[in-house]
Amino acid sequence: MTPKARSRTTDRLARATSILPLILFLAAAARIPALAAGKTWRFSLDWAPSLGIHLSFLFDGLSVFFVLIVTGIGFFVTLYAVTYLHGHSQTGRFFFFLHAFMISMLGLVCADNAICLFVFWEMTTLFSFLLIGFDHEKEASRKAARQALLVTGAGGLALLVAFLLMEQAAGTFEISRMVPVAGDIKNHTLYLPILVLIFLGAFTKSAQFPFHFWLPNAMAAPAPVSAFLHSATMVKGGIYLLARLHPVLGGTTPWMATLVIVGAVTAIFGAVTALGQTDLKKILAYTTLTGLGIMTLLLGGETHPSLVAAMTFLLVHALYKSALFLAAGIVDHQTGTRDIRDLGGLMRPMPFTAAAVFAACLSMAGFPLFFGFIGKEIMYQGTLAEAMMPELATFAAVFANGFMTAVAGILMMQAFIHKNTTVSGPVKEAGLSMWIGPLVLGATGIVFGIVPDMVGTWLICPAVHAFHPSEEHIQMALYHGINPPLLLSAVTITTGCLLYLWRRPAIKGIAAIFRTLPADATGIYEYLLDGVGKVARFQTRIIQNGSLHRYLYVICAFFVFLAGFSYLRGGAVALPALWSNTPLPAADLGMLMLLIAVAAITVVFSRSVLLAICALGIMGAGIAMIFLRSGAPDLALTQLLVETLTVIIVAVILLRLPGLQKSGNTGFLKTAMNAVLAVTVGLMMTFMLLIEPGGPPNDSLTRFFEENSYVAAHGRNIVNVILVDFRGFDTMGEIIVVAAAALAGVALIRNRKETP
């Protein structure tokens, strides 16, 4: 196959994989009427039942709402990516990652068992790492991927601990079974730790301040990944978690206060930062922060309007953000730049992309007739109905939306209408498979804006009912009459227009404010990461500095510490009692032991190699005598033989080495420290041998060998029978070790002759 043909085959296969999200989308959509009637499905498989861990999945309004968003956007992202990556050598890998990422997200939103949810949660972290770092030749991609992995991975660990604590409090891992006992969990002493850990998990995943910094950097990923990551997957995971756990943990003061404050700060921070950016994808990334912040602050609410607003805005945001990211990818793909200062007048050459961007931007700005307008109306209704700090929530929402309107204006005007382009050469529209996605997604924003009540009845309400059952019905309509939300909408659009007109001074002012800040989150992250490296290098320098002496010293010292610690904890052995009831050994055995000890000490202090070798021989022979006196003639025989051979080999080799001259660099202090450690290790060994085991030693194995040695193996020497019969394979292994050592030794000596 020629490369071109192979590339075409790859493309065709990749395009075929878009059937998967499409089928899932249709299957989920077919369930909508039943869901709206209040039906749910639960499906469970045993995984580790003794631990209460099951592969259980719950399909209710909330899950299916997310499934529809993930698969619907996933379908267009897949189609788009085929063309976007055309000719790339790693296309297959990319689509594997993309679909695995999608399936992890689907598992995450459908899991009912907390551990199951955690596994899918970590899978999204892992696959987002692989996707963000897809262009792994670029350092920026690798860094961004690692940052996302570290931040969200750390949050994942916090989440796991939170789930384990929740199991302690609720007695089950199934989230649906935690809901009925939510009162117990909220009154449990572990409630606050659980809440903090859950927040850590959700805030890192959903890029809430101060863990927001990984998200803008994650735009290093290819455009379809960014679109998917920012709109439907990954960052929505944290929002989903907060919604799912709302009935279990929500409604308390710490829950409401934290979510409203963190959400408000994130929304304002994202909005302000977005205005000053010039990279298309970066602008969009910061507006995602705003969107996530608003969802978080709405989920802090306890009233029906707040939660309906959260879900509505989630849908609004998913639609316009995916369309905009895909469109930004098209612009980058066709013009070669994403810098908004270099772009202009793209409306004429790229009509379809322009239409998609206009629809999405107007939805983002919240203009009437677009779904974003409905979202904003309900959002204000929701923030005004917040149980806690409605003023802060409303202010943050109006403020952030004003900025988003201005950003939407900049995106539309600067890139598509103004004609100050510096892009060279004629720009062409991208292929159908690229612009169809953003166009359909943008158009959906218009359709939903025209029939908001249907969206509310079929999608939003089932989703909200799943985690906040309420009889209250929120009317979604274009016009409710003159009411506070409408006035706030007017304020927002006016603010946005004014900001757009005065954008230059505004951006300058923002930049000035940011310059006064002492540190930013990325800086702190880098500092911490650097700190970990420094600590690692420091401790490596101390513990593993490459010196054999240091390694041995650390190992021995750690042994002393560990053995001493457990010795003291277990209570010191009554040594005097042992002294009194121990019979003295026979005189010859006592002499033998003394001889061995003296020989060992001689080896230590000897300055003559020959003397040391002789002392070694005496020591080995002495130990053989001990074996002989203790009913072990076989051992004695082997020991004598081996000791003799050892002494011969040591003598042959050592007499070729230089003598035991005093080495220059061992001072008195070092020798003293060595001696202290050596004596301590020896004492520890003695104590360990003296500790009486609890009860008599288990001799069932010995008895088995004694009883079967003759009967089964027809041998009278039990030790020999064990070696050659019962443990025959072991002995064979031993022979292989000896042979291997001999071969290796020969090889070492041979090698010497060939390369002098």
């Binding site: 290098r537 050994p585 032991m593 009913g631 040591v650 660099n665 061992t666 004694e706």
Partner: protein, 153 residues
């Protein structure tokens, strides 16, 4: 009896550790030999020591006549002695070759694979880079070359 034997084991262990810490390859070898013996003795004592008969089954019997020594630790130690011997002989040869190549018996001077300055502060940056890019810092390679080329002097 056990107390004296335990003290003996402690003495042997202490001697072995001290010898191995001394920084001289020859003493290190001595330490290894002592340690091997000490460990065998420790297993022997831990298995329960007695001045009983060897674990043999007399002619005409199918079971040993008690009191008889524990056969299991004996079988284990027998394996340990032989394995220990194989290990020691290989290490002797290895050390001999090391001495031939590097011309020293001081373990502190044997720093080819982990030079003393590998983790020193001014150099630390390079090590961090090495972890990132997978390349070897130039001076590590140089040190290695110096030592290899300086062999047999």
């Amino acid at each position: 009896m056990e107390i004296l034997l335990s003290l003996l084991c402690g003495t042997l262990t202490a001697a072995a550790v001290f010898l191995m810490l001394s920084g001289n390859l020859i003493r290190f070898i001595f330490g290894l030999v002592v340690a091997t013996n000490a460990v065998n003795l420790i297993i022997f004592i831990a298995g329960g020591i007695s001045q009983a008969r060897p674990p043999l089954i007399p002619e005409g019997e199918s079971l040993p006549i008690p009191p008889v020594a524990n056969a299991l630790p004996q079988a284990l130690i027998l394996t340990a002695i032989v394995i220990g011997f194989a290990l020691l002989s290989f290490i002797f040869i290895l050390f001999y070759r090391t001495y031939e190549r590097l011309g020293t018996v001081e373990t502190e001077a044997m720093r080819v694979s982990e030079p003393a300055d590998l983790y020193q502060a001014p150099h630390a940056k390079n090590v961090a880079d090495m972890a990132d890019t997978g390349t070897t810092p130039a001076n590590t390679a140089n040190t290695a070359n110096k030592i290899t080329s300086g062999e047999k002097s």
